[in-house]
Amino acid sequence: MRAFEIMVYRQVKRFLRARSRVAGMIINPLVWLAFFGIGWSNAFRDTSIFGGVDYLTYLSPGIFAMTVFNQSFVSGISVIWDREFGFLKEVLVAPASRKETIAGRIFGDSAVATLQGAIILSLTFFIAKINLLGVISALGVGFVLAVAFSSFGVSIAARMRSMEGFQMIMALVMLPLIFLSGAIYPIAFMPSWMKALALANPLTYAVEASRVLLTGVSGIFPLYQSLLILLILTAVMLYIAMVSFERSTVE
């Protein structure tokens, strides 16, 4: 377990060092909340489409999940930088289990992403009606979500040979997955082809679950069902990441 532990330590340490980068990551969701959220919440007079809450309250759990998702996906994919700057080779020549090492990195990144989600969440208290009792469980959901998407990032990074495809992957993955998750508008009103895509998106289940926990608004699934699906998808994604990393070489 030592390699797991030390990788968690490394990721958290590096995060604490990079405070300016942290500020940069938090600005993005704040812009969403302030300009997108407040702007639309005055336009949407009819709260029934959002399960009876105002739009800002509806949006807040979505922005929380989005923050965790963005952060964890980017840190997962940054395994490419580790390759570029040699740390990966260090890990690959060590006798420690590669599965364990990468799992440590993923969990460390997830702790960091959850912490950033928590910062955003605490800011939403001032503008939305958040159920305080749900916060701890919502952070738990955030952590599972983070494990899912740092794993996804690692699996992609393990297959990428250079930084070239990076921009394309970001454009292809980040925004579409957010729009297809119910974070910003309800899945119930999506056309059926879009709904099908949303149901295949792990982010959807995290958004649904944290919205129930934080605002009491339920979407298309009951809470236990969202949680179960999220956990299963996360376990699968973590396993794929561990296997992809184990097979990666310096070639």
């Binding site: 030390i6 340490k13 070489t249 070639e251």
Partner: protein, 326 residues
């Protein structure tokens, strides 16, 4: 284990990248406790060989035993017993020197007091203890190298690989790193496999040297043995108009790209008067004559007709190599 004589045994190792053969069947043995150097120009296949021996790359064919274990079949056992300083920097720039050591130790399963003591000892050894809490991104190239050396020693490797340990360092820092490597051999009973394209480095540090070029070992032995391949001394001549190897009978003669003529002789003090005689007979005017004991660069030149330092290979085109009639 104690009786094993060789730290590394390599037989007919081949590595292909697609159609390109980077390592073309090399074989060599490194004795326990010695410093063995792979000397060769850029692109010779040194790093590829190191990556195979350290289990990072799979060989296309051939066999390699490191610290008693097969690098393909028993990769994990090999990994437990080796340390490596990569050619390219591999430090964690966002961590301090101390944290870099801590993380490395952790990845090797070390912890607690033992680890802390070892980190202190090694950071002191490479004279970085006072900078232990500084972020590595503010370190100079030489300091980063020293940190990497300290880090590679943390888990007591039996065999240490140093891939171009002084690449890109200034001469003073290079000498500094050499002194650590020499101290390492003295203090820790370790086998060191070193690659370099600096012949001075191989000459200074290595007990035995293998010269590698285009994926093949073209000679190996002690530095003295290799120099004997050239003969006794090396004479350089500068002559008036048109350098050409003229009729002599004492050794091989090469015209260098810079227009000088190089002659390998067994004894320079005897050969020089005869060279003057021969030149006079041919009507060639000698402007300058120097000689020295052969260096490893002369050995490389002797074997390949190229100099190690000429990296691109374009400079070689003009070389004419002529064997003198005996």
């Amino acid at each position: 284990m104690g009786k094993r004589m060789y730290a590394i045994e390599v037989e007919n190792l081949v590595k292909k990248f697609g159609d390109f053969e980077a390592v073309k069947g090399v074989s060599f043995k490194v004795r326990k406790g010695e410093i063995f150097a792979f000397l060769g120009p850029n692109g010779a296949g040194k790093t590829t060989t190191v990556h195979i021996l350290t289990t990072l790359l799979k060989p296309t064919s051939g066999k390699a035993i490191v610290a008693g274990y097969d690098v393909v079949k028993d990769a994990k056992e090999v990994r437990k017993r080796i340390g490596i300083v990569f050619q390219d920097p591999s430090v964690d720039r966002d961590l301090t020197a101390y944290e870099n050591m801590l993380v490395h130790g952790g990845v090797y399963g070390l912890r607690g007091r033992e680890l802390k003591e070892k980190i202190e000892e090694l950071l002191k050894f490479v004279e970085l203890w006072e900078f232990r809490n500084k972020l590595v991104k503010y370190f100079s190239g030489g300091m980063q190298r020293r940190l990497e050396i300290a880090r590679s020693l943390l888990h007591h490797p039996e065999v240490l690989f140093l891939d171009e340990p002084t690449l890109g360092l200034d001469p003073q820092t290079r000498a500094h790193v050499w002194s650590y490597i020499e101290a390492m051999r003295e203090e820790q009973e370790m086998t060191i496999f070193l690659t370099t394209h600096y012949m001075e480095e191989a000459e200074k540090l290595a007990d035995r040297v293998a010269i590698i070029d285009h994926g093949r070992i073209i000679a190996d032995g002690t530095v003295e043995e290799l120099k004997k391949l050239v003969g006794g001394d090396v004479i350089y001549l500068k002559v008036e108009d048109g350098a050409e190897c003229f009729e002599t009978d004492f050794g091989s003669c090469v015209v260098l790209p810079d227009g000088r003529i190089r002659i390998d002789v067994s004894n320079a003090s005897e050969a020089i008067p005869r060279i003057f005689e021969a030149a006079e007979k041919e009507g060639i005017k000698i402007l300058e004559i120097t000689y020295h004991r052969p260096t490893l660069n002369d050995v490389f030149l002797h074997l390949t007709g190229r100099e190690i330092r000429d990296e691109g290979g374009n400079l070689m085109k003009g070389i004419t190599k002529a064997r003198m009639r005996r």
